[in-house]
């Protein structure tokens, strides 16, 4: 049995709301930037031209150049790639792992369930950025480490929600019936349970995307995220901040695009939440 609503109906509801429309447009724009960066970018993002450092925006360089004379527009585009790759990788890993662990916790014996919850609580008790910072300091900065570490910090979010949803659902008549006719455990989980708990998890995932983007940018700003010369929005901000008195354009454009991305994903996530689960809608 499946009690989900069709995706087209959900997106129609998102589009119907003004904020949702703005969010969706911004999200599509950022995703397009990430997907088409290699074709849109006028220059190689890491090509250094020191003689041309701190150039103001012009026809040749839409957003100007940074302290190494690199084209800022190209770096902003490729920065979107890093943001989207990290966000989607982190959310995918933590969504899948958290959901499976949450379901396992719900069906496990009380002691094992308690163990799961304690582990979730321990991880969740640390602020994500601080935990990520500590772990990156130990493991070393790299894109893969950033993804793995941030994903771990987000697993409890999904694990707790998945467990709560399964607990509410596990005695539902359609599940009892499935069990009675001999449906196997894995089939029960993947065909009957997951589709029916996916709504809140998708909402949570969409709301976590901007958080992950800002954590990645924060780690890169602090020098423990992606390694140079990769163009993360966080490193663009850091470089811009370091040379702020020479040129404010890098900080302005990197800050602007980061703000728009987080705003877009937040508005989209809220609209998605309202569409999928109107009970969670905030009272204006």
């Amino acid at each position: 049995m499946n009690i989900r609503r069709p995706a087209s109906s959900v997106f129609a509801q998102v589009w119907a709301r003004g904020a949702g429309r703005v969010g969706l447009v911004l999200v599509l724009l950022i995703v397009a930037m990430a997907l088409f960066a290699p074709w849109i970018a006028p220059y190689a993002p890491n090509k250094i031209n020191v003689a041309n450092r701190f150039a103001d925006p012009s026809g040749a360089f839409f957003m100007g150049t940074d302290h190494l004379g690199r084209d800022l527009f190209s770096r902003v585009l490729f920065g979107a790639q890093i943001a989207i790759v990290v966000a989607f990788a982190v959310i995918s890993i933590s969504l899948i792992s958290g959901t499976l662990l949450g379901i396992a916790a719900a069906y496990a014996p009380a002691r094992v369930e308690r163990f799961f919850l304690i582990v979730f609580d321990v991880i969740a008790s640390f602020p994500s950025l601080v935990l990520a910072l500590a772990m990156v300091a130990i493991l070393g900065p790299s894109l893969a480490n950033v993804i793995a570490i941030v994903a771990i910090t987000f697993i409890p979010h999904f694990g707790r929600v998945a467990r709560a949803q399964v607990l509410a659902l596990r005695n539902a008549p359609f599940l009892e019936a499935s069990r009675a006719i001999g449906v196997s455990g894995p089939r029960l989980v993947f065909v009957h349970i997951i589709p029916n708990i996916s709504g809140p998890l998708i909402v949570l995932a969409s709301m976590d995307v901007p958080v992950v983007i800002t954590i990645e940018a924060g780690l890169s700003f602090l020098g423990v995220g992606v390694r140079p010369p990769l163009a993360s929005w966080g490193t663009l901000l850091y470089d811009g901040y370091s040379y702020l008195t020479q040129s404010f354009w890098p900080v302005l454009f990197a800050g602007l695009v980061l703000s728009l991305a987080t705003l877009g994903f937040t508005l989209f996530g809220e609209a998605l939440r309202d569409a999928i689960d109107p009970k969670l809608r905030r009272i204006p």
Partner: protein
């Protein structure tokens, strides 16, 4: 009692507010100006003169301890400090008599000649855990300190020691510790400084601040400020913002361009001096494929030093072509000025059997200027087929990355060392004994070692100069060093602060800071 807001109280309040605004509230807060807040680019780690990491600790130690003689404000001229008299009797003998009644803090009693012997001789003693002072060279010429009376003694040297006043007696390595405290505290001596200087440590909150309070038992001239607060702020830009916000009163800028903007700001001033810190890329000669001379030569040819300096410092620093800066004895004015040669670099790599290039790592301090230079190097070397991974580390991790056996894994590192006004202080870090300590290149050369000893033990300036130039030629032959710059010494300060900075730009005399 209930507070009432009458017409009269409102007028009083208004008048007080107007008065405060007219005088400038920040000035009222700072009216007493009994403290100065100083920024250092990293946190203090070890408060032991013999085992200090560098100038960050040295500045604090020197504010809390006395020396037999000390440098005058911002100068290399010196005058007796703890000593009533101190005299170089011959090349190998210095006699001193202490002033009586100089008390150590924390109740460790009066300073005697025993404390001098303890403080100086410990530089040459291997500790129980096998550690030896990395500053042992400062007192390398010391034979013994002979105690001739409660307050008097003789410093016997093994040989002439031309640098002993500048790098030992008057400098950080000449700070006098309490023998009693050393024996009582044991290992704790590295964190609990017991001195007799103008300040004592009132509070130390790691990674936040260190508060130096005027030492009431100090017998010398009282310092101007009741407190010196030392704040560790790694980033130069953050320090610049903190200075503008008056969160700090004094800082050095790693980015000399910052000086231009600070100079335009009311209430702040900029102090500029010739740079003396030396910055270079060190190549680990033990690590393949950098153990191949041709590979090192290829890397040296592949790097565009001028481009790196323009990118990091806006071209506002002097390019270095050898170890010693022009104001030091032994400056090698004919040192080769290498221009980037991509074809030559590729040819050398091919000769080394690495025509297809290789991967390596460049370790740098996590600061904007160094990361900028690293990215230029990364880009330069990519053109000759060498893929460079940049590893940017914070101070705590960075300064231990070349130590011990861990240092064997280091590939290339962008290093910045402080200099003193004597070339032997600079050359000491590259002797064989420093491998795994501060010689992160792990480069050894017996001739270099011999020349270092010679230069440190003769008063003949011509001979010293000649030895120093030859040592730099040997370094150049090794291609283990890509010299970048002598940095710039640009400081920002509140207009009312009169900083006391020694000519090397790195050593600050907190006890002599004053009001302008």
């Amino acid at each position: 009692m209930a507070a009432t807001l009458s017409r009269r109280s409102t007028l009083k309040l208004g008048a007080a507010a107007a008065g405060a605004a007219a005088l400038g509230f920040p000035n009222i807060v700072r009216a007493a100006r009994d403290r100065v807040v100083v920024r250092q680019d990293r946190d203090i780690q070890i408060l032991d003169p013999a085992f200090r990491i560098g100038a960050a600790e040295g500045n604090v130690i020197s504010a809390c301890c006395q020396r037999l003689a000390s440098f005058k404000t911002g100068s290399l001229h010196y005058a007796p400090d703890a000593a009533e008299t101190i005299k170089q009797v011959s090349d190998t003998l210095i006699e001193f008599t202490l002033k009586p009644g100089q008390m150590f803090s924390d109740g460790y009693g009066e300073m005697t000649a025993e404390d001098i012997k303890f403080s100086f001789e410990r530089f040459g003693i291997v500790q129980k855990d096998g550690k030896k002072s990395s500053y042992a060279s400062d007192w390398g010429a010391l034979k013994e300190v002979e105690i001739t009376g409660k307050y008097s003694g003789k410093i016997h040297l093994k040989n002439a020691a031309p640098a002993i006043w500048r790098t030992a007696i008057c400098d950080t390595s000449g700070n006098i510790l309490s023998k009693k405290a050393g024996e009582a505290l044991g290992e704790k001596i590295t964190s609990q400084l017991v001195g007799s200087g103008p300040y004592r440590i009132a509070k130390w909150e790691p990674n936040r601040q260190l508060v130096l309070a005027a030492n009431p038992d100090y017998k010398g001239p009282k310092p101007v400020f009741r407190e010196v607060i030392v704040r560790p702020i790694q980033e130069s830009k953050t320090a610049e913002i903190a200075l503008r916000a008056r969160e700090i009163d004094f800082t050095r800028f790693e980015d000399p361009v910052a000086g231009d903007t600070i100079a335009k700001e009311a209430g702040l001033k900029v102090v500029k001096m010739p740079g003396m810190r030396y910055l270079w890329i060190g190549l680990n000669v033990e690590k393949a494929p950098l153990d191949n001379l041709k590979v090192r030569q290829a890397i040296r040819l592949g790097v565009d030093v001028d481009e790196a300096l323009t990118a990091a410092f806006g071209g506002k620093v002097e390019r270095a072509n050898a170890m010693l800066q022009s104001s030091l004895l032994g400056y090698w004015k004919d040192a080769p000025v290498r221009k980037r040669d991509v074809a030559g670099a590729k040819k050398l790599l091919a000769e080394a059997g690495l025509a297809g290039g290789f991967k390596t790592r460049l370790t740098v301090l996590n600061q904007a200027a160094y990361k900028t230079m690293a990215q230029v190097v990364q880009s330069n070397l990519a053109e000759i087929g060498v893929t460079v991974e940049i590893e940017a580390l914070d101070g705590g991790s960075y300064w231990s990355v070349g130590k011990g056996d861990v240092g064997k894994n280091l590939d290339m590192s962008l290093q910045l060392f402080s200099a003193k006004m004597d070339p032997s202080f600079t050359s000491q870090w590259f002797v064989s004994e420093q491998v795994g300590v501060w010689n992160w290149q792990r480069w050894t050369n017996p001739e270099y070692d011999k020349l270092h000893v010679l230069a440190a033990s003769t008063n003949d300036e011509a001979e010293r100069g000649k030895a120093m130039i030859r040592m730099q030629q040997l370094m150049d032959d090794s291609a283990a060093f890509i010299w970048l710059t002598y940095d710039s010494a640009v400081f920002g300060a509140a207009a009312w602060v009169k900083p006391a900075i020694l000519p090397n730009g790195t050593d600050w005399q907190f006890g002599l800071f004053g009001e302008a």
